[in-house]
Symmetry: C2
Subunit: 215 residues, 2 copies
């Protein structure tokens, strides 16, 4: 099926949001943990983490100006730090529930039953039940004039990986760590049958290092 | 396992890149199709597409200043348009091979055997063999001072979805369309067993709309 610009503009807003949220392909599903100056915690699911570079280790996060992500942004700008926690298949339901518009006085940790976990000397809570967990220190904040979204750039200051899920070469076994992939706004997938490729060279054909897909 | 900032800094560069490229979770795997003013085509695999908003429909793409993505950026800035094409499990090998550093005179289409497909009136080639295919019109370009990466913001001007892979509510069935998820730099996964959640409300518990995971 084909949709031109005029078709996209003419769509019902919810249908357009459904389509445009899925056109980029699979997304990460992360819980962003923050705290305000009073120690009030907040937890929000986001799918917009993107790698900027590994030296220094930087990730960007696109935060939408809607109500439910407003507290997260305010806490990040206030405290200068936040955690990124991988949603695993065992906590999909609680993780998704953090998207509900709880008022500022209610922590999504309490509302969903997920457990805050603190890292020595770091001012934002992680999620105990999550898989891979990261601490980030705010480095830059940009408001994107084009549509009022916010881009937050953070440096990774610590990484916690479940036992046995990191290889000698540094690569994390996301499937082994239980991490799920997100499609659109609400559909969570498990990942299977990895095919690992060798570093691409112009003078060599593609070389498969390992293939569990059976293809 | 736990890695502090000092551990991350002390890592061998390749190992650090492996880890930091996988800490954000699963990523999209897209082929970016472009053309220069002479009609010379270019194709590059990227994992950094991120949703900015659906009205207008905007996606951002982070492009690294390394050699192999330099031609793509130059073509986008020159022509003002580019295509985003989902890597499917059937073209993982060719798609990964586009990351090799071919010289400017060689099109990755020719080098990998993937087929350029043109959309009426649009100046960048799509990939015939890909799943979901998008055309984007350049809206903004930012160089991120923090590490010299480039962020390109584009408006989606057309969307092509394989038959039967889009629901009434606009959501695309990525698994049905064959789209794969990427982990790190080189590991491609199929996605299975989706669990779809209802819109989260504060006064209702999490509600599973459908669950193929058997959990």
């Amino acid at each position: 099926m084909q949709f031109e610009s005029s078709d996209i503009k003419a769509m019902d807003a919810r249908r357009r949001a459904g389509m445009i949220n899925s056109v980029s392909g699979f997304k990460s599903a992360n819980l962003i943990g923050t705290s305000n100056a009073k120690g009030q915690t907040n937890l929000a699911i986001m799918s917009s983490a993107v790698h900027l570079g590994s030296s220094p280790p930087l990730l960007a996060l696109v935060i939408r100006p809607s109500n439910d992500q407003h507290h997260t942004l305010a806490n990040i700008l206030d405290s200068g730090c936040y955690s990124i926690n991988h949603v695993t298949s065992t906590i999909v339901e609680q993780a998704h529930q953090t998207a509900a518009r709880y008022p500022a006085g209610i922590s999504e940790f309490d509302a969903t039953g997920l457990t805050p976990l603190w890292h020595e000397g770091f001012g934002a809570p992680m999620v105990a039940e999550a898989g891979v967990k990261l601490g980030l220190s705010l480095r830059e904040h940009h408001e994107l004039a084009i549509n009022g979204t916010n881009m937050v750039i953070g440096e990774v200051v610590f990484v916690e990986v479940p036992a046995g899920c990191i290889a000698e070469d540094g690569c994390i076994d996301l499937a082994g760590a239980g991490t799920v992939a997100l499609s659109g706004l609400d559909t969570y997938y498990q990942a299977v049958a990895p095919k690992r490729m060798a570093y691409a060279k112009t003078h060599l054909p593609p070389r498969v290092l390992s293939d569990a897909s059976g293809q």
